[in-house]
Symmetry: C2
Subunit: 403 residues, 2 copies
């Protein structure tokens, strides 16, 4: 019998306790031992919960209980969660988390402490919710040199874009719908502005390329400003607008990572990942392209990943999982603005100006466009080059095109 503690009893925490109970027989089979939740750390008493008798308010009880070998941290944020995680690891307990903010910012340090204490710090649920992605990258693709990873990493923004594309809903209405359905927070900034996707692409890049990337070094642009006019032009081109996090090698020992809306081809599998679902594409030099798809958030899908990590931690109580990456290095992350890609641009300008500044572009039309509005696809160029070329035009929108 292995005893665990759950820190935090919100949506994910209650999902974890629920799945642990519901699937206890198969979990015991898979872990080759029974696993029992001994404590739930929460601020309120949760008197109505069937697990109220497990709720405690004093973290040190968990920290000091030698019977607790595995701790699930689903508090979120990088303050209290950071402190508790560190103390658990220092006490030699393995920690399992869904906390992308904490892993993206302090993952390298926490993994180093785990290693020193012969414990494990596991975070499958921090990227892609329930989708198996951390383990596939680190284990199943271990024979590959990975040169690129990208995907739809945020369900809220994908829901909004899908509504805009499929139903012609405006951004504001789609955001309100997402909030009503519980897919978006009252303050949706972290989702809408790409911050959540940024943390996730950092974790993926850390693992794929082996060195820590500071989220602050990752140019991040969300979906505010994506307009139905852009959706319509993209459709004429045979593309959809999706928010992608992307990381790739840009030369020996260098990588770049960024978050931005992209036009992606209708014929690509990723463009058919709709609603709150996530999809992650990996390119390796042996496997070629692989994609992982599933629910990127939600109570039970996230619990699925957390509990899988608990089982893994239970199976490795005396062993260590090989997980970790090197410390940051100046000059390692190159500027995403230097990536050479084609661009979709919508401007208010004259044909002459466009021709003069950008040469041959591919124009695209939509019904009901104002007479002075032009949308077109440029030749591949850096963002700097594009920016200079557009300096004298009124730019309504510009997005990268993934070909």
């Amino acid at each position: 019998m292995i005893k665990i503690a759950v820190l935090g009893f919100g949506t994910v925490g209650s999902g974890v306790v629920e799945v642990m109970h519901e699937n206890r027989v198969s979990i015991a089979h898979n872990a080759a031992d029974e696993i029992e939740v001994k404590y739930i750390l929460a601020r309120s008493s949760h008197a109505d919960s069937p697990y109220a008798h497990l709720v405690i308010h004093d973290f040190s009880l968990i920290e000091q209980d030698p019977e607790i070998r595995i701790v699930v941290e689903v508090i979120g944020g990088a303050t209290v969660a950071y402190d508790y995680t560190k103390r658990c690891l220092l006490a030699g307990k393995s920690v399992v988390t869904a906390n992308k903010e904490l892993v993206a910012t302090h993952g390298q340090e926490l993994l180093a402490i785990a290693k020193e204490k012969n414990a494990n710090y596991l975070f499958e649920a921090s990227v892609g919710g329930g989708i198996p992605i951390i383990r596939p990258i680190t284990q199943c693709l271990a024979a590959n040199e990975i040169d690129e990873i990208y995907g739809i990493l945020n369900g809220t923004t994908n829901y909004i874009l899908t509504e805009m594309i499929q139903c012609g809903t405006s951004f504001d209405t789609a955001l309100r719908q997402a909030q009503e359905k519980g897919y978006a927070e009252l303050d949706p900034t972290a989702d809408i502005d790409g911050i959540d996707a940024c943390r996730k692409i950092c974790i993926l890049a850390d693992l794929c390329f082996g060195r820590h990337i500071d989220p602050h070094d990752v140019k991040t642009r969300g979906i505010r400003g994506v307009d139905l006019a852009d959706v319509a032009y993209a459709r004429s081109l045979g593309y959809k607008i999706k928010l992608l996090g992307r990381a790739l090698r840009t030369g020996d020992g260098h990588i770049t990572a960024y978050v931005a809306p992209h036009l992606i081809k209708n014929s690509s599998l990723l463009s058919n990942v709709d609603g709150v679902m996530n999809g992650i594409v990996v390119h390796g030099n042996a496997i070629g392209e692989a994609m992982f798809y599933g629910a990127g958030a939600g109570k039970r899908p996230t619990a699925s990943a957390v509990v899988a990590d608990v089982i893994d931690a239970a199976k490795h109580l005396k062993a260590r999982k090989f997980l970790g990456w090197d410390e940051p290095m100046p000059g390692y992350v190159t500027d995403a603005d230097d990536l050479v890609m084609p661009w979709y641009v919508r401007v208010r300008a004259s044909l002459t100006a466009i021709g003069t500044e950008l040469g041959n572009v591919r124009f695209v039309t939509r019904r009901g466009a104002p007479l002075d509005e032009y949308a077109f696809v440029t030749a591949p160029m850096t963002h700097r080059h594009l920016h200079d070329s557009l300096a004298n035009m009124e730019v309504l929108s510009h997005y990268r095109i993934l070909d």
Copy 2:
């Protein structure tokens, strides 16, 4: 330094040796030790190969060399490969394979020997080529009760169907093209008739549901007989025809598994898995739906999975992976003919006969159909029920519909 032997030096074997060499630095990093190919067992000398100096012809050299801790079996088939695998495991060596036939038929026995000898028998490459699927099912989804798994498991048939759907190519021409491109064998029976997909769905079902399924208990129907007329009717309905292997729980302690062409919705992600690619969908009670996509065959993708298993075996030389399933049990596998599903049917019959036998059906049309040809979608029913209802009609085709 860990020394390994590779049994078989065909497409996959040479891919394994190539990837092992090319990515040796990152492989050593991931395995926390260098891994070196010491022997390649082959019938001919492969004098032109850069690895000719490693080629030997006597298996017992490998069997008796205590330095060899891991053996890669990529001979294929269930005769010589079975003998060698057994002897390696009995000698306490871990074995890694891409051999679906061997795993599907003798997996349970070989895993039991591996367990007894504290060695590992790993077979990620046996299903889905390079796609990570075995490890995700057994580890990442370990917190779930899996109730269903299905997918496009064979690249050859998916290539043929994709050509028929996208280019209007006939079955015979598409098969010839597949042979010319090297996607299909000269004798394409194992692919075309669903035998390959059958072995793979058996392995997936063994792992997902925990008990051995004999491939002979799995009703298997391939894509011979799929006609362009059916492709056209499916299109009118908003569906595509895809060959699926499928296994699901049919009640407490019972499962069913089968291979058959299905009509699947254009809006489903799986219907967009085209050409030689594979896609596998898993339903779990916590994660909901997840999908895994990638190259299901080919030299380097398959090598990617084999070498990942070699790395895993290297990391677990003194430990065991929890992999295995129970022995077969009479009555465990129920007849797929008893599954209740809607059907697509194409007949030469009178409207009256159709109405009398099948009641309200949904008719579908295509351009240029003969006057006495009718195609329709039935209410959900068993295959037996369908069969009886169609007894007095000339049935041109009938396929399951996955809704």
